[in-house]
Amino acid sequence: MTTKLKGAQILIECLQREGVETVFGIPGGVNLPTFDALYQSPIKVVLTAHEQGASHMADGYARASGKVGVCLATSGPGATNLVTGLATAYMDSIPIVALTGQVRTSVIGNDAFQEADTIGITRPVTKHSYLVKDVRDMARVVREAFHIAATGRPGPVLIDLPVDSTVNEAEFEYPKQVNIRGYKLQAAPAINMAQVRAAAEAIAKSKKPIIYVGAGVIHSGASAELLQLAKTLKAPVTTSLLGLGAFPESDPLSLGMLGMHGFEYTNLAVAECDLLIGIGARFDDRVTGKPDEFARHAKKIHIDVDPSSINKTVRVDYAVVGDVRQVLIELNKLVKGADTSDWLKQLAEMKRQYPLTYREKGRLLPQYIIQQIAEATRGDAVIATGVGQHQMWTAQYYQFNKPRSLITSGGLGTMGFGLPAAIGAQFGRPKDVVWDIDGDGSFQMTSMELATAAKQRLPIKIAIMNNQFHGMVRQWQDQFYESRYAASELNVVDFVKLAEAYGCVGLRVDKKEGVRPAIEQAMSVADRPTIIDFLVEQKENVWPMIAPGKPHFQMLGTYAMLSKDGGVPQHRRATPDEESKLSLG
């Protein structure tokens, strides 16, 4: 006869069978039984300063390691504090299992102390959720939750645990398999070979193809298959923000990032191509600009695991639904080498004519700092970011060559993501160097997690591009609101003192010469976090830029504009004459 276990013990037994080694969270009234069971297990519990931090750590852990991240919070405020992290993970399709405490089943709905309708509040930001009303459901629910989080299009799953479900006893039997009748197709959609053949035929007809890659390639581990496709077709590859690292940017076929702050030549190339092969990407509005004008001369192929992504914002000519890696394996069997030499020559010329650049101003510039971090780490580090200008500069100037090396909030654009995500990433990749490249505004939204990083003696490096502004907001106010800085100016914070207060190393740099030595010094610290407070030019802008809703060939901050004496004027739009030149018709 099997012995009976408490619900919390069953939960921990299941977590161990799912391979969970580290969880992030905060104890409280109703989840004490769960924490007590964790205490007696080999699973490492990382106490965070705030539950939002726990959710971002689970997210960073998942993005860096490819495993499911786990976070825990108590009922009520603990659970509501997770919401931003769940929404972040949901938008970027990151596998997380969130375990929330709940008041006991008999008082649910009675406005009990620390009660919130967690399932209701999190429904729009989770892939699925469970309320465990009966301890006998515990093992099945946990098994299903991990399966749903990690398969198909990944995403966060929440399990709400009324305290009685964790203290009541049941016989423990780990379900041998998962059987969810509404989910079988989503978990492993069958590939329609007719669709693959149609895509291959369209590829064979193309003279100017571009492969447009998103995070789906990283989630499905399809980088090798992507490289093979690109090499066979001799087709250039551009990535979305979240796709960075899926294809090596050092490769001659790489076009880097496209979209709102993508490279000028990349956006011009997309406007020129005759075939766009979208792989594991969702044609986000930051990528497409004005959807009707996006790759307007191109036939479009879309390969994605999620049928609901197809034709959502941009109509495509060929759709292939399935796991990206499996589809690419099939597609690679069908495609033949193509002669794209004229196209590649044209692109090389565009690259030469419209390079990514910035204007030296005498003051310390974030772009330079990021280039130096890239050099010092030889592009091998795991880079987390917050959200804003520094995030875009990181995307532009740190060459990402490996999958899972950029940890950033793309879809939701969650400021404050950087530090906790870096902490999670360091647990997921203990041997790798982890940096958080952050802005002073973004960093201060979750800076209390320095306590977590210091307590765990994590050697993460935090580079703060300190411009005393919400820089991206300030940039838009300059561009579109006649420089009225409504609530975008920040106070002056001494981040060196802040670092010291938490037991971290703090360094300050305000000159170019100081950049590399500070980076080297940070790299030599092995037993605690290091903050480098970079006092940078306050009004540097991210260029180039496609204004929201504008087509790709209308960019601000182009190479031509930057190389003129006056730089980029404010409040301006490209003139029709410039437009015709930029479109390279």
């Binding site: 892939k127 509404g182 989503q186 609901s308 959502k312």
Partner: protein
């Protein structure tokens, strides 16, 4: 072109499924005319019949998004001419004296019946397809409709 479509979903018969579907419909900005939930031949499965007002692209999105829900087992579009649909209507109509006889003749033409009657009004009950019910409502309005309720469409494939 936007038009009415009938979608039939088989869903898990447990707690919270209706709110998941309703949440999805409002979050994605879909326009729905009606939504009914009812038992099926299998006690673990419920059927939702949803009438949406959408063009072809939006309709595809509705079906795809519904399919994404873990608790949704099957999504089927009821194609024109291949299904039987019905809804139930109750209407309280102001009527007395001589008009009553005319009303009774009308209800008979529509296969409706008078479910309840007082001196001042009657409650008319009828089941039928949407178009027939719309026509009857137009006729009833000539008498004065005091209150009206419809169940929304349920449908089965032929």
């Amino acid at each position: 072109m936007s038009e009415k479509h009938t979608i039939s979903c088989l869903v898990e018969n447990h707690f919270g499924v209706l709110s998941r579907v309703a949440n999805l419909i409002s979050a994605r900005g879909f326009n729905i005319d009606s939504l009914t939930v009812s038992a099926t031949e299998d006690p673990t499965i419920s059927r939702m019949t949803i009438v949406v007002d959408a063009d072809a692209v939006k309709l595809e999105q509705v079906k795809n998004q519904l399919n994404r829900l873990i608790d949704v087992i099957e999504v089927q579009e009821m194609k024109e001419g291949r299904f039987i649909d019905r809804e139930l209507l109750l209407a309280q109509v102001k009527v007395n004296g001589a008009a009553l006889a005319k009303l009774e003749a009308l209800t008979q033409r529509y296969g409706a019946k008078v479910a309840h009657a007082t001196d001042q009004s009657v409650v008319v009950e009828v089941a039928g397809d949407t178009k027939t019910l719309d026509q009857l409502v137009d006729e009833l309005r000539k008498y004065g409709v005091l209150k009206l309720v419809r169940t929304g469409r349920v449908a089965l494939e032929k």
